[in-house]
Symmetry: C2
Subunit: 140 residues, 2 copies
DNA sequence: CTAAAACTTGACTATTTTAGTCGGGTATAT
DNA sequence: ATATACCCGACTAAAATAGTCAAGTTTTAG
């Protein structure tokens, strides 16, 4: 039960942007150097963040990325959704007719996993990017 | 971010045992048939459950497994621990000197992931096996 | 004008993890 | 005796992950 690095790096990179926010765009090169994340990998990640309207890009020299929303308004769940699609802990789809074991009725544990998903998702829903920055500026 | 099938099946199998509990042991063959889980796979899972003192075994004919604790006392976190060792969402160890990016200080997101782990673990800590069985007997 | 900075995109690959199987045991009730 | 059911390590195919590569396009400083 672990988060993939794409999601992890995405949150880290966006937190970095929030800290070093300014009027101009933040380049991936700078984030890469500050946070120790591969530039090539960041490119792949920001592609999806852009597609999901979390950041917008500025091309050319002095270009980079800008947060679409303010850190106070940007939910962590939005970030994860952009990269992972699902924060479902099990395979069985909510709307699917089939249960996880191929039978017609829901399995004995189904409701429990549903509860778990709700519990985890509500955590991500209620956390904003700005929540990561409290008392942390000194530790970059 | 998903749970592996071993943990999933373990919870399912133990829930099955709780429902079909009796004075005598429950055989893996029966669980396999009822829940649609491969017998061979169940053997592997129960090996670890036994090692972690969640179940005890009765060998020979009419043998099987018996829950060590009552479903009311068996925490889901105990089950997951037996199979997964860790419900840590990220790689960075709490006690490790190194941060996830190889630098000497903790990264900008470290405390956040810690919070997440606590949030998820407390869910598993507070749930008992018996909680899965409420109003569910009819659906086996 | 042009070179360099920086984003764009799809494809590609090595490594790791996962899910599950296999084979050959041992204990015990009948 | 023998069938049933647990015991245990090793093995493998398939999928997911982490990360790279190549070949662009756009913009602006100089
Ligand atoms: S049927 Fe949904 S988890 Fe089993
Ligand atoms: S240093 Fe612990 S998660 Fe980055």
């Amino acid at each position: 039960m672990k988060l993939n690095t794409k999601s992890r790096y995405a949150v880290m990179a966006l937190a970095d942007m929030a800290v070093f926010s300014s009027d101009n765009a933040v380049s991936l090169r700078d984030i890469s150097l500050r946070q120790g994340i591969s530039l090539l990998y960041l490119e792949q990640i920001f592609l999806r963040l852009k597609k999901n309207n979390i950041v917008k890009s500025v091309r050319g020299i002095n270009g980079g990325y800008i947060l679409v929303k303010s850190p106070k308004e940007l939910k962590i769940s939005d970030i994860l959704l952009a990269l992972d699609q699902k924060v479902k802990t099990i395979g069985c789809k909510k709307d699917s007719k089939k249960s996880c074991n191929g039978k017609s009725t829901k399995c004995i544990t189904h409701d429990f996993w549903d509860e778990l998903d709700i519990h985890i998702n509500s955590f991500f829903e209620n956390k904003k990017l700005s929540d990561l920055l409290k008392n942390r500026e000194a530790r970059i």
